[in-house]
Subunit: 288 residues, 4 copies
C-alpha cells in the first residue's frame, strides 16, 4: 500500500540553517524523510525546498502540522509554505474544445495509473469530444458561449458552480480555445494549467504555427504554464521543441506540434499533481 | 584534386517539367550532375532547386553559362537564379567585439580545412581580440565608434572601403555588438550573417539571457540569420536550443548559451559557404 | 475529396537521367506530379526516389501502370520498385501485451483522422487491454502462449490465419512482449514494425531501462524498426532520446521512456502508412 | 577577488540526519555555506552530497579539516569523501593525436577564463598539432609509439615521469587515438577523461561513425567518460546527440560528430574542474 506522507513546499529569504532546522523538526518528531530537494535563487537570495516524510509514526497530528510550522518557522524565517498530504488526491477538471490529442493523452495516463488524481468532470464549449469522455466513463458538460460573448459571464458562473460542486482543486486547459476570465483565474491562482502551442514568449496569441511558418523558424515548441491575467504570460512549467525544415507547411507544423503539446502538457500536469512545482514571481521551481 | 563544379540555385513558380528541363540542359551539354535537391513550397506554389555539376567536359564555356540559363529558362519560367563556381572561394570578413568564442570556433574550423573560404580580414570596434587574429596570422582592423555615434557614418564608410579592397564577398557578425547601418546591409543583401543569442523571435534586442531569466523559460536558444534592415528579423538560417532549469542564473545562461552560439553560427556560415542557402521572402531553404 | 493518386517508390544504381525519365513518363501520360523527393547514397552509388501523381487524367489504366514501369524502366535500370495507390488503405494489425500507452497513442491518432489506415484487429497474448479495444469498438483476439512455448507454432499459425482473413497488410508490435517467429517475419518482410525501448544498438534484448541504469547513461532512447530474423537488428525507421540524470531510477526511466516509445512508434507507423519509408540493406530512406 | 572555499564531496549509506550533521559542522565552525546539493540513490540506498563553504572565518585550519571530517563523520557513517580547495587549481594535461577540434575548444575556453585550471603540458603521439600548442604558448611533447607497440611501455613510463614533473592532477584525452595502459589508468583513477565519438554503449571501439552508418541509426552521439581498464566502459560524465538522416555518409557523420565531441568533452572537463562529479560504481553523480 502507498505510504501516507506529508509534503511541504516552502520558500523564504536564504539564511544559514534552514535545511537543518526543518529536517530536525521532522526527524525529532519521528518523521522518516523520504525526499528532500532544495534550491537557492542566487539573484534573489531566496531559498526553496520540498520535503516529504512518512506520517506513520509522526508525533504531531496531521491537522496540527501546518499550525506548528507556521508558529515555529514561517514567521521567523518570513517563509511561505504549502502543506499537502498524499492521502488527499487532487481533483482535476479538464477543459477542452475540439482537438482530442491532449485529452486522450491525459486520460490514457490516468487510466494506466500514472496520474494520482481524481477527474470529476470534463468541461467544453462544444459537443465534439463527448465521445471521448464516454469512452472513459466520465461526465462531460457543455457550456456554449455565444459568438458575441454576451453570455460569457453567466457561463463562467455556471462553470464555477459546477467546479465547486465537484470539489475541483485545479483545472487543465487541454487545448481549450477560450479566454478564461480574471474572476476564474483569481479563484484558482497558479492552479489553472494551460498548454500554448508555441515556444513562449515567441508567438503569443492566436495561430502560433502560422506565425512560426511566416517567421521561418527552424524549430517549433510548446509551453505549459499557469494561467495569469496576462495572456500566455504566466509562470512556465514545462517546454519542449522539435526541429522543422523549410518543407513544413502550417499544416505539418500543426501535426508535429500536437506531439509536443500533449507530452509537454502531461508532464506539467504530472509535476503539479505530484506537488513538485513551486511558483515564485513569474518563474517556477520544478523539484526533481 | 577537388573537382571544378558549377552550382545553380534557383526558384520560380512551381510548374511541371522544370527538374526535367534543367537536368536535360546539363546532361545534354555533357555535365555530370553531382548533386540535386529540390523542394516545393506548397503554400506559395514555388519551386526551389540546387544542382551542382562537374565542369570538366561541359560544352558551354563557364563564362557563358549564366547567359544561357537566363535566355533559355529564367525568362520562360519567371525564374530567379544564382550561379556559383566551386573554383571561386567566397571571401569572408569576420566582425567581432570582445567575446572570443565564435571567432575561435570559426578560425579553428577554417584551420582544420572545414570551411572552404578565404578570410582576408577581421574587423572590430575594440582591440580586445587582436591576439586571436595574431595567433592565426590574420590582419585585424579596429574602427572605434564614439559613444555618441558621432563618427558612425565615417567609420562605416572606412569599413566598406576596406571590405572592397579585400574583395570581401560576405560578412559574419561573430557577436559583434554594434548595429549595422542600412547602407552596409544594402551593399550585402543576404550576405551578412549574424548570431543572436536567443531563440528568435523570442527576446529580440539587448540582453536576451537576462530576458530569458526574467521570463522563466525552461529552454534557451541561439539563432543565426541574415541581417536585414529590421533588427533581429532577417531570414533565419539555423537555430538550436538547450534545456535549462530554475537553478540557472543569467550568468550560467550566458555560459551555456556560448556553446549554442558558436555551433549555430558556424553551421550557418558553412551552409552559406557551401552555397546551400536560398533566401526567399523572410525564410530560408537549406539544401541538404 | 481526397485525390486518387499513385505512389512510386524505387531504387536502382545511380545513373544520369533517371529523374528525367521517370518524370517524363508521368507527365507525358498526363499525370500531374504532386510530390517528388529523391536521394543518392554516395557510398553505394544508389538512387532512391518517391514520386506521387494524380491519377485523374492519367492515360495508363491503374492496373497496367506497374507493368509499364517494369517493362520500360525497371529492367533497363536494374530498378526495384513498389507501386501503391492512395485509394488502397493499408490494413494494420496491432499486437499488444499489457502496457497501454502505445496502443492508446495509435488509436487516438487514428480516431482523430491522422492515420490513413484500417485497423481490422488487435491481437494480444493477454486479456489485459481488451477494455481499450472495446472503448474504440475494435475486435480483440487473445492467443495465449504457454510458458514453455509448447504451443508457439500453432498459436502463430492461428494468428497468421486471422491476419489473412482480416486482409492485414502490415503489423505493429505496440510493446508486444513476445518474439515473432521467422515464419511470420518471412510472411511480412519489412512490414512488421516494432518499438524497442532503447537507443539501438545499445541495450538489445530484455529490460533495456535496467541496462541503461546499470551503465549510467545520461540519455535514454527508443527505436522503431522493421522486424528481421535477428533480434532488434532490423532497419531503423525512427529514433528519439531524452536526457536523464543520476536521480533517475529504473522506474522513472520506464515512465520517461513511455513518452518516447509512443511518439517514436507512432511517427514510424505514420511514415509507413504514408508510404514514405524505403528499406535498403539494413537502413531506411525516409522521404520528407 | 575569488573567495577561498572548501569543497566536500561525499557518499555513504543513506541515513537520517546526515545533511543536518554536516551543515551543523560547517555552520557551528563559522563556515558560510555557499552551495549545497544532495541526492539519494533509491536503489542502493546511498546518499551523495556536495557542499562548498567560505573558508574566511572558518575556525578549523584548512590542513586539519580532512582529519576532523574523517574522525567525526566518515567512520561513523561509513562515508567516502574528497575534500578540495578552490585555491588549489587542478593541473590538466591534454593528450592529442591529429584532430584539432577538441584541443582548440578546450584552449579557447581556457583562454577566455571559463576553465579554472592550469595546463602545464600537451602530450601527443604525433607532431601534427604542435602549431596549436605554439599558438597558445604551451609546451608540446611528442612521444612516438612504434607500430608494433614495442616501445609502448617505455613511452608510458616517460609520459608518467613528465606528468609527475609537471604536477599533473588529471588527464584529458582530446581525441587521443592510443590505448592507455592499465598502469597509467591505475595512477589516475577517475582522473582520466576520454571522449568517445559514439553514444555509448553503442559502437564501442574503432570507427564508430562507420559503425553508425552501417547500422542505419537516425541519431548519433558522443560520450565523455572516465577511463577504466575496460575499453569505453568507464563511468559516463556527459553525453549528447544529434539527429542525422539517410543522406549522411560516414564523412558527414564525422563532421557533425566533431561538434558533439568538443562540446561534450568540454562540459565534462568543466564539471570535473569545478569538482561537480562524483563517480560511484560505474555511474556518476553530476551536481548542478
Amino acid at each position: 500500500m502507498k505510504k501516507s506522507t506529508a509534503i511541504l513546499l516552502l520558500h523564504c529569504p536564504d539564511r544559514v540553517g534552514i535545511i537543518m532546522e526543518m529536517t530536525k523538526f521532522i526527524t525529532d518528531n519521528q518523521g522518516n524523510i523520504l525526499y528532500l530537494d532544495q534550491s537557492v535563487d542566487q539573484i534573489d537570495h531566496r531559498f526553496f525546498m520540498r520535503v516529504e516524510w512518512d506520517l506513520e509514526n509522526f508525533l504531531i497530528p496531521k491537522e496540527k502540522i501546518a499550525e506548528y510550522i507556521d508558529t515555529l518557522y514561517a514567521r521567523r524565517y518570513e517563509m511561505k509554505f504549502m502543506l499537502k498530504f498524499s492521502a488527499e488526491r487532487p481533483r482535476m477538471a479538464i477543459f477542452v474544445s475540439k482537438m482530442s490529442h491532449c485529452l486522450y493523452d491525459l486520460l490514457a495516463r490516468w487510466k494506466a495509473g500514472e496520474l494520482d488524481v481524481e477527474i470529476p468532470c470534463i468541461v467544453s464549449n462544444h459537443e465534439d469530444l463527448r465521445y471521448v469522455a464516454e469512452q472513459f466513463g466520465l461526465p462531460y458538460y457543455v457550456f456554449s458561449i455565444n459568438k458575441d460573448w454576451s453570455n460569457k459571464r453567466e457561463v463562467e458562473e455556471a462553470e464555477m458552480k459546477l467546479l465547486k460542486e465537484h470539489g475541483v482543486t485545479f483545472i487543465v486547459l487541454a487545448r481549450y480555445m477560450q479566454i478564461i476570465s480574471d474572476d476564474m483565474i483569481a479563484a484558482y491562482p497558479n492552479h489553472i494549467i494551460n498548454i500554448h502551442h508555441s515556444f513562449l514568449p515567441a508567438f503569443v496569441g492566436a495561430k502560433p504555427y502560422h506565425q512560426a511558418y511566416e517567421r521561418g523558424v527552424k524549430i517549433i515548441g510548446a509551453t505549459s504554464h499557469y494561467v495569469t491575467a496576462e495572456l500566455d504570460a504566466g509562470p512556465i512549467i514545462e517546454q519542449d521543441v522539435i526541429r522543422i525544415t523549410h518543407k513544413d507547411t502550417p499544416e505539418t507544423l500543426v501535426l508535429k506540434g500536437k506531439d509536443l503539446e500533449k507530452i509537454v502538457l502531461s508532464r506539467a500536469v504530472k509535476a503539479h499533481i505530484d506537488r513538485k512545482v513551486l511558483a515564485y514571481k513569474n518563474r517556477t521551481i520544478i523539484f526533481s
